[in-house]
Amino acid sequence: MDALLFMIFAAIAVVCGINLVVQTHPISSALSLVGVMGALAALYLLLGGEFIAAAQLVVYAGAIMVLFIFVIMLLNAGTEARGRRSWAHYAGVPLLLLLFGLIACLITRRMPASENVVFGQFTKGGPLDIGRALFTTYLLPFEVTSVLILVAILGAIVLARKEID
C-alpha cells in the first residue's frame, strides 16, 4: 500500500515537474508546480511529516503559489516567444543528464543502506513536536527568521513602491 501510494504520488510529482519544464505558458507551469507541491505533501504524510505536509499545502501551494499566479496575471504574461537559443540550451541536456547521473549514482551506490519507508513508523512530525523544537532548540533561528521576513517586506516595498521622491 505504501509502495503504491508512493508510486502514484511520485508519478504525479514527476509528471507535473516535467510539465513545468515543457509548458511555455507561465500559468501552466505554475499550476504544474502546484501539482508537484500537492504530491509532495502526500509523500510527506507518508514519511510522517504531518505538520510539514500541512505547511506545504498552506504556505507553499496556498500562499506562495497564489502570489506567483497573481504576479503572472498582473503582468499579463503570455506564452514565451520562440527566440534564439543560447548555447546553454544545447549544453543543458547533457549537463543535466550528467548532474542527475552523478547524484543518482551517489545515492544508489554510496548512500548507507537503510530500511524501507513504512507509514506510521515515524510519528514525531506532528505540530507538538515541531512546536517544542522550534521554541527550545530552534528558538533563535525562529526569531531571526522574523527579521528575514521583515527584510523581505522592506525589500518588496523598496522595489515595488509607487513613486520615488
Binding site: 509502495a3 503504491l4 508512493f6 508510486m7 510529482a13 514527476v14 515537474g17 516535467i18 513545468l20 519544464v21 507561465p26 505554475a30 508546480l33 508537484v36 509532495l40 510527506y44 514519511l47 510522517g48 511529516g49 510539514i52 505547511a55 506545504q56 504556505v59 507553499y60 500562499a63 506562495i64 502570489l67 506567483f68 504576479v71 498582473l74 503582468l75 504574461a77 514565451e80 534564439r84 540550451h89 543543458g92 543535466l96 548532474l99 542527475f100 547524484i103 543518482a104 545515492i107 537503510s114 530500511e115 524501507n116 519507508v117 513504512v118 515515524f122 512530525g125 515541531i130 523544537a133 522550534l134 533561528p141 527568521t145 528575514l148 521576513i149 523581505a152 518588496a156 522595489l159 515595488a160
Partner: protein
C-alpha cells in the same frame, strides 16, 4: 508485472528528490520566462525539502522537518522580493523574456 512490494526503500524518495531537483535545474536552463525560471527554483527547493523530510524519517528526528520549515519560510521571503524584482524589471523593459535582460556583459 512483478508483485508490488509493500513498501519502498528510502532511497527511492531520494531519487525522486534528485529527479525533481534536476527538473528544477532544467526549468532554469530551458525556460525563458523569468517567472517560470523562478518557479523552477521553487521546484528545486521542494526537492530539497523532500530530502530533508526523508532523512528526518530515516534518523527518526524532527530536525529535518524544522529545516524544511525554514526553507519554506525563506522561500516565501524570496518569493516576495523576487517577484518585486521581476516587477521592476518588467516595468522598465516591458518584457519577461530572460534573454532580453542581458545588457550587462562584456
Amino acid at each position: 508485472m512483478p508483485a508490488l512490494p509493500a513498501s519502498v526503500p528510502l532511497s527511492w524518495y531520494l531519487i525522486l528528490s534528485a529527479i525533481l531537483f534536476s527538473l528544477g535545474v532544467a526549468g532554469f536552463l530551458f525556460r525563458r520566462n523569468i517567472i517560470t525560471v523562478f518557479m523552477s527554483i521553487e521546484l528545486m527547493l521542494n526537492a530539497v525539502n523532500l530530502s530533508f523530510v526523508t532523512f528526518s524519517y530515516k534518523l527518526k528526528q524532527v530536525d529535518g522537518h524544522i529545516f524544511s520549515f525554514f526553507v519554506m519560510v525563506v522561500a516565501a521571503a524570496e518569493a516576495a522580493v523576487g517577484l518585486a524584482i521581476i516587477l521592476t524589471v518588467f516595468k522598465n523593459r516591458q518584457t519577461l523574456e530572460i534573454d532580453e535582460v542581458s545588457s550587462l556583459k562584456n
